[in-house]
């Protein structure tokens, strides 16, 4: 008994509208959390709390914000994520679409990776989606 994709999207949308003070229609699947919706690091914590409550799941914040990988000297060289680093990121975040980031994996660009759709995939992997 999981949730449908639409049900997940609606709840994720509600959480983002509350946390970021944006309008419903700004929150579409392709919107990036940082670039399009203006999320800052304090907002990620808020989003985590809201998703935990909304979906009754436990979230490790570093699953959404892998600072430990991005600041690890073994995985980052000269501000660029190494092959080992990319493998770690994919292991940590298998639900995220990293194809674009992978082409030029600069740490400074990572913040703008996550889209609303990625967040829905993440939640789906935790609750078990019907779709």
């Amino acid at each position: 008994m999981g949730l449908s994709q639409d049900e997940i999207f609606e709840k994720v949308q509600e959480a983002l509208v509350d946390a970021l003070g944006v309008d419903d229609d700004e929150v579409n699947r392709g919107a990036t959390l940082v670039g399009d919706l203006g999320a800052e690091s304090i907002d990620f914590l808020d989003i985590v709390f809201k998703l935990e409550k909304s979906f009754d799941i436990n979230i490790e914040r570093t699953e959404l914000a892998p600072e430990d990988i991005l600041t690890n000297g073994e995985y980052v060289k000269d501000g660029v994520v190494t092959a080992d680093g990319m493998a770690e990121l994919k292991r940590r975040m298998p639900w995220a679409d990293m194809s674009q980031f992978e082409q030029n994996p600069r740490v400074q660009d990572f913040g703008n990776l996550l889209t609303v759709g990625d967040l829905c995939s993440y939640v789906g992997s935790k609750v078990g989606s019907d779709a």
């Binding site: 946390a19 003070g21 800052e40 304090i42 907002d43």
Partner: protein, 170 residues
Amino acid sequence: MSSAPPPMKYRQIDRITSIEPGKRLTAERTLRADEEYLKDHFPRFPVMPGVMMLEALHQAAVWLVRSDDEFQTPLVLLRETRSVKFGDFLAPGETLQIAVDVVKQDGNRTTVKAAATKQGRVTVSARLILERCFTGDPEHFGTDAKVMKSTKQQFMELTKQLTEQVALSD
């Protein structure tokens, strides 16, 4: 000629810098090093409390609503806050630039979005919902009349500089 009304002790706006009634209001607030509560907040790190910055937004919003209402309703009550986020701290000597914009009017309720910045960095942002209403006291008590008269005087004090500027530029 009536003398200037006693100042609001918990005033969080030093002066209103611009006003488009019903649309937008800007104001300033400078944190002075001698503000007494700083000794409690915090003894080793004096900064303006977040809710005080929020109050600056709130007071600016109230004046914006009152100016459009032409002081016909005594009370402008804060009903809701949404998406209040605290960014940077404000240290003694620093100045907040406050800006409030009306987003929606719905009967006697007004929704505004507001933010305070220092050197372009946002220290607090919020959506506020305010409601114009009466005190509910019987008319012969004079409560509503007193509030309307006194708040109008307070507003004139806060915008004194603005009207003087306008007069000078005429």
